[in-house]
Symmetry: C2
Subunit: 506 residues, 2 copies
């Protein structure tokens, strides 16, 4: 019957990931892609609820670390870009003097920004005096205001965040949650007195993103991005990538140390204890609906989604069975629901008058972690039957039910982490230590673009370019985890503990 249903609803097997993913986001009712603008999906209640629960985890981390929630306007007047242009000009001058680390990033980005935004040039039937664009991210509007707010050291640190819609005029193929044109976006922006305090913020960000990814059961690779993939104006960019089952890496979060580069463009100074003016140091931390894309991609299976309990809109689905034999089963189901709901567990009763098999099938697709069945026999035995979406089915006493359910929810999370780690490990292959022979790369013929390759690498930019061109993959940057024992760099052969990954990025 499951197979029949599967055919009916058209879920491709997950082994065909590139068909499975776009199908499951609609079949599980997360989004509707039929809205008549490509890359702008309608969030259905089930998807929006999951996203809101992810936001809740983010907000809780922000609150724990004393960030305040702001809401900035969506529209940015074009003339504010003058300050960004000054940043670019200064970085260019530094590049020409051979001192700026962001030099490689500049050339390709110079005109890039204006190409990627939506423009508002008309209000009603009038042409606006100053064109405006829809924020792709909020450095410009925020720092314009920060420079009004910050006067002295007592105003620092300033730790802000917002969760908003951002926009990108995307010309590549769009994919729900992964590459969209209206983006549900989280951004934290902080301002500090000096480089050290900004660096401490980066460490806090690193800690927060691991807490969040742990809650979402997502293994990930943390890399300091190569210079040419650093955010414009950043001193360095660190990114969290999740390896999707098709071997492509999905960047789900980034945090940037700006030093005082942006501050110099936005006149962001503070007066210190001695009355001297200093430029502020800044950081940003960004995540988006891609987190949901990673959850869908990594945890789902042939039968549908599997939601981590932390963000599952429904954590426990209760199914009264054989209610025609004993209506008391309904009463029992409601009692169970009340007990669980009272202890904060998101619970729903499915009392639709349809076949049990169809119900099972529906909730499997939607990835509900725990299913409880209660029937006439269970009534007598003060028990129910519990099934985990990650596998396993057994009788469960109703005594202290909320305690045992919480344990089972933790078990599902553990299962998901184990499964995801397994997928991750299987996708990440080691490159042979010695891949060069007579100055030529000899492994490239064996490279698959559906795998991620781990390698020892301490080469220069030219070496990196050679690696990327000959493999068709991208270097993620220096991995936060280094080798315990030095290995020879795949290009130079020099011993190094530096680890990198080559991957096809989303």
């Amino acid at each position: 019957m499951v197979d029949q249903g599967k055919a009916k609803r058209g879920i491709p097997p997950k082994s065909e990931f590139n068909s499975w993913y776009p199908a499951i986001v609609e079949i599980a009712d997360l989004v509707d892609k039929r809205y008549p603008i490509k890359g702008m999906d309608v969030w259905k209640p089930y998807g929006w609820k999951a996203m809101s629960l992810i936001d809740k985890i983010t907000r809780s981390e922000m609150e724990r670390t004393y960030h305040d929630e702001y809401r900035f306007p969506l529209l940015v007047p074009e003339d504010l870009l003058d300050k960004e242009n000054r940043l670019v000009a200064r970085l260019k001058a530094a590049r020409d003097a051979g001192v700026n680390p962001s030099e490689l990033r500049l050339d390709e980005d110079d005109a890039g920004f204006k190409k990627e935004v939506y423009w508002v040039k008309h209000g009603g039937e009038n042409e606006l005096d100053v064109p405006m664009f829809l924020r792709p991210t909020s450095e410009t509007p925020m720092y314009t205001m920060f420079s009004l707010w910050i006067r002295s050291h007592a105003d620092l640190p300033l730790k802000t965040f917002q969760i908003v819609n951002t926009f990108r005029y995307e010309t590549k193929q769009t994919r729900s949650f992964i590459r969209v044109r209206e983006i549900h976006f989280f951004e934290a922006h902080t301002v500090h007195r000096n480089e050290e305090e900004a660096t401490m913020q980066i460490e806090e960000d690193a800690n927060m993103i691991q807490n969040i990814l742990h809650e979402l059961c997502l293994p990930n690779i943390i890399s300091k991005r190569p210079i040419w993939d650093t955010f414009p104006g950043a001193w360095y960019t660190t990114a969290a990538d999740v390896v999707m089952p098709n071997g492509r890496t999905l960047q789900v979060g980034t945090y940037h140390h700006y030093r005082d580069q942006w501050a110099k463009s936005f006149d962001l100074t503070y007066e210190d204890e001695n009355g001297d003016a200093n430029f502020c140091h800044q950081t940003t931390f960004g995540m988006s609906e891609r987190l949901l894309g990673a959850i869908v991609g990594l945890h789902g299976d042939d039968r549908g989604l599997i939601f981590p309990p932390s963000i599952s809109p429904i954590q426990v689905i209760i199914m009264p069975v054989a209610t025609h034999i004993s209506p008391d089963v309904i009463v029992m189901a409601k009692n169970i629901k009340n007990i669980l709901a009272d202890s904060g567990i998101r619970t729903k009763i499915d009392d639709r008058d349809i076949r049990s098999g169809t119900k099972h099938y529906d909730w499997e697709i939607k990835g509900v972690p725990i299913r409880l069945e209660v029937g006439p026999r269970d009534l007598a035995n003060n028990q129910c039957v519990i099934s985990l979406r990650t596998g396993g089915k057994e009788n469960l006493s109703l005594d202290n039910l909320e305690i045992s359910i919480n344990k089972y929810l933790d078990l599902v999370s553990d299962n998901l982490r184990d499964n995801a780690n397994e997928i991750h490990k299987n996708m990440v292959h080691k490159l042979p230590d010695s891949s060069m022979e007579d100055g030529n790369l000899i492994f490239t013929s064996k490279i698959q673009d559906n795998l991620v390759y781990e390698l020892a690498f301490d080469g220069n930019d030219a070496d990196a370019e050679l690696l990327e061109k000959s493999t068709g993959l991208t270097l993620l940057g220096d991995c936060e985890i280094i080798y315990d024992v030095a290995k020879p760099c795949v290009i130079t052969g020099n011993l190094t503990t530096k680890k990198q990954h080559l991957a096809k990025m989303y």
Copy 2:
């Protein structure tokens, strides 16, 4: 000292409302109006938190009544307007046949819509094939999708809502929360099988808005808007108006019965039990950040805001005093905070090293309902000193503190309701029963535009126009509350129980 501070921070007296309001929203740190687009303020954390708590009350009402939360795209392609144009065309035809009730609304609105939106015609450097606009409200994007979702009676009722940013190219003078260009907006859209079920929804909306306004301690006038102020395509529009202290009415919510007028344009049909196709009936219900504007305007006083406890970001501010005498006071303050926080009361300790008077002054401006002071003497007596922002100060035992604090929070709400009702009553004057003499209005010389006038009225559209023109005020529409005993209409002299209000609307 308060006066000194007042002068320093520049709060005008509330009797000068039109200066007080724009000053207090910034002095209390709700928004910053210096963002370089007029009518697009930056929400500061304190303002955003209050707004989020209003949203929470709204969401809770939506959940109670089984509405699901969606999130639709911000951008709407211009060609979707074809369907709206069909609506307009059909209503025009009906008007020409003399049957449509919305006739008066049409002429002025025909071109109005396109004049009021922001247009996106460029993505990057490209001109878009189809221009898009920023949603002013979401009928068009939503109903486009509804027509894909609704097939049979089993899909109904469909009860949806979203809380989103909407946009209006506003040419009038902007005011924080009251008239802005990026609007924090709530909109519920429902679809039903027939007119009766849609009418029941309107009754549910009427009930919900009263629950919400009760939580916010806002007295209000409910009126069925005159035909010329009915939402385009609506059968009728009901509105909730709050009378601000300057005598202007602020429309804070509306709910519209569409019958099947929109459905006919969007091909919104369902198959009933007999297999027959029928047009759906629809309603909408909208509110916005104006709720916060009404709270600021109605409850504040010369010393600053007064927040209703239900949405106050901080409900209790704790001030340890004379901590240099006894550091145990700090411990006590923290204990109190933990006790209150554990029972869900939003509590903060102000342990800044500044004068008590300055602290009092700060939290008065921010409208925190309850202030607790704890000092060395209180330690010995197991008590603290409680002050209510609405007035009153006394010793309070720490026994069962969370219970007594909740009672005091309720007392503040009751005080706010009483005060607001008093203001409301004082602003709403009765027009003399007999205001016509020899066919002329004789009361117009006494009309003040800072008052609201209640009157018996059963005249026709021409009578209404005469009233509005001769007074310079606007009729709010038939009030939901009618006179117990019929009175003569101020224009026709006919006895009627129908009540209306004349006011200057925001």
